[in-house]
Amino acid sequence: MLDFPRWKVLSIVIALAIGVLLAIPSLIPEGDAARYGLGGMPRINLGLDLSGGSHLMLEADTVDLAKNNVARMEEQVRAEMRRGDTKIAIGDISTTGGRLSFFVRDGAQVDAAVERLRTLTQPAGMTGQRDWNVAVVDSTRIVLTPTDSGLKAATNSAMDVATEVVRKRIDELGTKEPTIIRQGADRIIVQVPGLQDPSALKALLGKTAKLEFKLVDQSASPEQLASGRAPVGSEIVPYPDNPGGTPVIALKRRVLISGDELINAQQGFDQQTNEAIVNITFNSEGGRKFARVTQENTGKPFAMVLDGKVISAPNINEPILGGQARISGRFTVESANQLAIALRSGKLPVALKVVEERTVGPEMGADSIKAGTVASAIAVLAVVLFMWAAYGRFGIYANLAVIINVFVIVGVMALLNATLTLPGIAGFVLTIGAAVDANVLINERMREEYRRGRTPVQAVELGYKEASRTIFEANVTHAIVGLIMFVLGSGQIKGFAIVLLIGIATSVFTAVVFTRMLVALWLRKARPTTLNV
């Protein structure tokens, strides 16, 4: 073991030096790092519990998702049946229980209808399943049922779009370095550092931003409104800010123009009343539709429906040409701006709910870092003194290993772009305590062997050899636990597990390899006749 060739010494020193160097950018404030030309170096990430900020977990409303899925299918079916030379007349469409069912008026056309429906279904999943099952019941009724893999595929594509929309909306808010990650089948995690008041963010993300323009059904009687039964072809829709008093209004079912045709939305002010409004711009198709609709319905009220609620229902005073329009309502500047952002970034394909939220004020984060740093420093000092008192020279070697280990952990974390959380600091402190364990094992073994009458060199050699095996066994089991934490843990636990795992790896290396090198170099030079341990 005394055989430590120069290349080995060199490679150990270089490896550790790199680890220590990697730690430097993380240990100095961000601004200073840039000044010393270290701005581009990897830094350790601070978790939100340390830097302050908000963590939100959004979950797709699966009921809403299934409903949208069926609604989309219904539209496709209607279009498909009207297509071509032979139109297929259908009726009695219902979309209850997540299924779409309708009957074909002419019994002879059932087969043709099924044939057309087949073209609407897509392969889904690995097993060659399609996304919808088509079945004929009672000879003229056709039932479309989404398959599991079909629903999964629909969720997946909806979540892809939703993640993009969430990203756009958060970018529009102008927050710094947000993290947006899809998690699992139906969740999105949003982390925004430094944000103190997440309510604006939550309000924005909670909006589906589905905008529709519909005509008001003026034929509905007050009784109908009160009872919630609308005339044929119309529906009763909530209208919370109705100046007329009733919180509902009857609207024609047909969507004249939808928010999909928007190309821009900006918050602005009404020149007369100075109220906050949202100015919208349609694409050319939407602009043409808007012009036609307003020409045909001049003088009639026209409702703007957002996420199933009417915002306002002004009269169309004159045809609106040129594709520019505005949405008025009881907005504040802030809420108008939020609506503009939501409309600009597109509608969410599915409603999202906040199922978990953690917000930490920046001050508290700073306090935690300070406390953690102080505690770490004191822990290192206590351990160093204790080791020195217990093992003398060998204790000092162990201490060198522990201190370098602290730097290397920081360096490796920076390199892996790992996140340091509050439990991570605890993991750090624990690692400092546990890192000496390997050296304790080695040194105790040396003492034992030396007491049994071995020469210093033999005692050292056996100490390292026998202890290394134990160290390996003990740390592999410890690493198993760390891995389990890492795989199963969420946020904080994961942060702890990362520090623990890195700490196990680096502490074994520094404790076994690095101190052995120091001891070997000393033995070679001093050739001691007694072992003072």
């Binding site: 906040v354 217990a390 094992l441």
Partner: protein
């Protein structure tokens, strides 16, 4: 220079002799822990029961009853107040509002903070967490799964590396450590949250580390002293590794002690759990897991056969000097 020695050289403490007393004591404590968990229950944080937690930091120690009355009067549901280690900080726990509207939780938070700000100028709200029931159920499941898998994983590992008796005795000792920690949380009613699960997992990790070192020495001595009877062999092994066991436990406790005193109130529960776990883990390593090997009928001859047939020719099996 004389070095600091916590354990004198060549100790010969009869750990195995007192194993029956140790087992009874351990069993009693374990039953007491389970009873405490069963009767008092754990003070589960919002991570596990779902709900809303607002941390309020006052300028001085707040009158808890008045604060409770204040929040209760807002009609936002059953209030649970809890003091942190820091006397100025109080955590206010509330059920999640029924409405699924995004604004609903914001409104509750705003209501509470406005009302408290009016009553106690200077109060700040450095942190708040809301967790829905669905997520909290998942967190419980994952937490339990993590603990169970960790115990199983290491039991299987030590079974493969050594003998099944080692796996069982380590698993029993680790389960004991976990139960003790849970009992501690039930008795003190300190908040049990996700961080504490991390602490429990850490205790498992440390405790296994500790037991592995002793197990490894037992295995080594079984090869070295083939004729020695199991009781003296285990005593010898535990005594030989005792200096290391104590030294390491003390260094880790030094480090954790620093964290407990200087690490701020947020980590206090976490650190307390780990400190306790280290003490319990060390106890169970010395008194429980190794002695249990005898009760489980570990025999050196049988072990030797397996070891030599499996790793014949391996360097370690060769005759020792």
């Amino acid at each position: 220079m004389p070095f600091l020695k916590l354990v004198p050289d060549n100790t010969n403490i009869g750990f195995v002799r007192v194993r029956h007393i140790a087992f009874i004591l351990t069993a009693l404590l374990t039953v007491a822990s389970i009873a405490a968990v069963g009767l008092r229950g754990l003070n589960l944080g919002v991570d596990f029961v779902g709900g809303l937690m607002v941390e309020a930091k006052f300028t001085g120690p707040p009158p808890l009853e008045a604060v409770r009355a204040n929040v209760d009067s807002l009609g936002v549901g059953q209030t649970t107040l809890q003091q942190f280690g820091d006397p100025k900080s109080v955590s206010i726990r509330l059920p999640l509002p029924e409405s699924s509207d995004e604004g609903a939780t914001n409104k509750v938070v705003a209501k509470v903070s406005d009302s408290l700000k009016k009553e106690y100028p200077g109060v700040t709200f450095p942190r708040y967490d809301t967790v829905s029931g669905k997520v909290s159920d998942e967190l419980i499941q994952n937490g339990l799964l993590a603990v169970v898998l960790a115990v199983l994983g290491m039991a299987v590992f030590s079974w493969f590396r050594y003998e099944w008796q080692f796996g069982v005795s380590t698993a029993v000792a680790v389960v004991h450590d976990v139960l003790m920690t849970l009992g501690f949380f039930a008795i003190t009613q300190m908040e049990f949250d996700l961080n504490i699960v991390a602490a429990v997992l850490t205790i498992i990790g440390y405790s296994i580390n500790d037991k592995m070192v002793i197990d490894d020495r037992i295995r080594e001595n079984m090869r070295k002293y083939r004729q020695m009877d199991m009781k003296s062999l285990i005593d010898l092994s535990v005594n030989e590794t005792l200096p290391r066991t104590v030294m390491t436990s003390v260094t880790i406790m030094l480090a954790l002690g620093a964290l407990l005193i200087f690490g701020g109130h947020v980590l206090r529960g976490f650190t307390a759990a780990m400190l306790l776990g280290i003490i319990v883990g060390t106890y169970s390593s010395v008194y429980v897991s190794s002695s249990l090997l005898i009760s489980l009928g570990l025999e050196p001859q049988k072990f030797d056969k397996k070891a030599s047939s499996k790793s014949a020719g391996a360097e370690r099996v060769g005759p020792r000097s």
